[in-house]
Amino acid sequence: MAEFNPTILAFCCNWCSYAGADLAGVGRLQMPPNIHVIRVMCSASVKPEYVLKAISGGVDGVLVLGCHIGDCHYMTGNHRTAKRMPLVQKVLKEVGIDERRLRLDWVSASEGEKFQKVVTEFVGEIKNLGPNPMRGVKW
């Protein structure tokens, strides 16, 4: 039985979490390879539509990483994200997709280790959840 290798998107904001991801890389911190990092200027530019499209298309997990509350380069961007993502999770839940496939977290530019921790935890969680059930669905 082949081991499940999840496909995971990680939206990382330019000012904080992407820098944190970079730091983790530079520091050669061990991380599972399943993450595809997508750099965005602010976590608020991650429109819920992208997340929903990704999951509908079969992506196994989506990570949205922004700056800590109070540190957003654009002041209130991460407030938007903080409001949106829980609702996106509910949309997933009601339709029958595990809401844990979407995770929101805050990682600062200096938190290379936190990045590693979040990513490793998330990949593990998705591996437990199994492949996205939308993968097999023929429209």
């Binding site: 819920p48 539509e49 992208y50 929903l52 499209k53 999951i55 509908s56 298309g57 509350i69 209130t76 407030h79 938007r80 903080a82 409001k83 949106r84 829980p86 609702l87 996106v88 509910k90 949309v91 997933l92 839940k93 009601e94 339709v95 029958g96 997709i97 595990d98 059930p133 939308m134 669905v137 429209w139």
Partner: protein, 268 residues
């Protein structure tokens, strides 16, 4: 020809409340039609049991009516829809006169409505709401896998008529609806994938006032109203918010401290 109901509404709207126009439903050519009656015009044989979404119709014609007061037959859900529109400045609620219509028991059951009595009842007998939606209860007992199978089965019937968005009173992005963009709904044919329905669900989560028009307009008879109700419950749990009150702001438009931000719907 005018019926008693028509006479009553005409008097109420034009004489008592100073409206210049009355948006109502009446018999025409053996059918029931929406109608915008001007003061002085024959109101016709008014029929209120056919549930046209008059607020949607109002929203369509409002930009062309530069002056005058418009009386609208409003059920409780219509009042809430107007509140959502007024909040976002799509209508000036000083120009709208609401004529409260209480829904019949049959209508309340059909909509599984918990809040059917308008703030002021001008027509109809008020009845109590019903608790709970049979399908929601069934879904709550299902496993996650079965729930997904259920919704995929339903959404597979979708024919992209856009009836749900076109008839919805709080769907106002007429010319730049995100559901039309390939960026978000990839499939170039029908049925549109799950993202179409999930994106719509997300957009409606802070606006839907559960009028049920989407479900009635769906040729595939997908239980859209049930999905709306499920998410309305979630919205209440997560943010203690329910749409339909002109005084409250959507949590999607406020910071974590409750300060006002730019309306996210204005983001293009």
């Amino acid at each position: 020809m005018v019926n008693d109901l028509g006479k009553k509404l005409a008097r109420l709207a034009f004489e008592e409340r100073g409206a210049d126009f009355l948006l109502v439903m009446r018999e025409e050519h053996g059918n029931v039609a929406p109608a915008m009656v001007s003061k002085g015009e024959d109101v016709g044989v008014v029929r209120l049991e056919v549930p046209y979404q008059l607020v949607t119709i109002l929203e369509n014609i409002y930009p062309w009516i530069s002056k005058g007061k418009i009386a609208v037959i409003t059920r409780r859900c219509d009042e809430k829809a107007l509140a959502e529109l007024a909040k976002r400045k799509y209508v000036d609620d000083k120009r709208i006169i609401k004529i409260g219509l209480a829904c019949t028991e049959e209508q309340i059951e059909r909509c599984r409505c918990e809040d059917p009595v308008p703030s002021h009842v001008d027509v109809g007998e008020p009845h109590a709401g019903v608790k709970g939606d049979e399908l929601s209860a069934r879904l709550a007992k299902m496993s996650q896998k079965d729930r997904l199978a259920f919704w995929v089965d339903q959404y597979k019937k979708c024919n992209k008529c856009f009836g749900c968005t076109l008839t919805c009173p709080v769907c106002f992005c007429d010319d730049d609806c995100v559901l039309e963009e390939r960026t978000f709904v990839a499939e170039p044919s029908i049925p549109p994938g799950l993202s179409f329905h999930m994106v719509r669900s997300y957009h409606m989560i802070d606006k839907c006032i559960e009028c049920g028009e989407c479900e009635r307009a769906c040729p595939a008879e997908i239980p859209l109203l049930t999905m709306r109700k499920l998410l309305a419950k979630d919205m209440k749990e997560v943010f203690k918010f329910a749409p339909g009150d002109e005084k409250t702001v959507s949590p999607l438009n406020t910071t974590l401290e409750g300060e006002l931000m730019e309306d996210e719907c204005n983001e293009r």
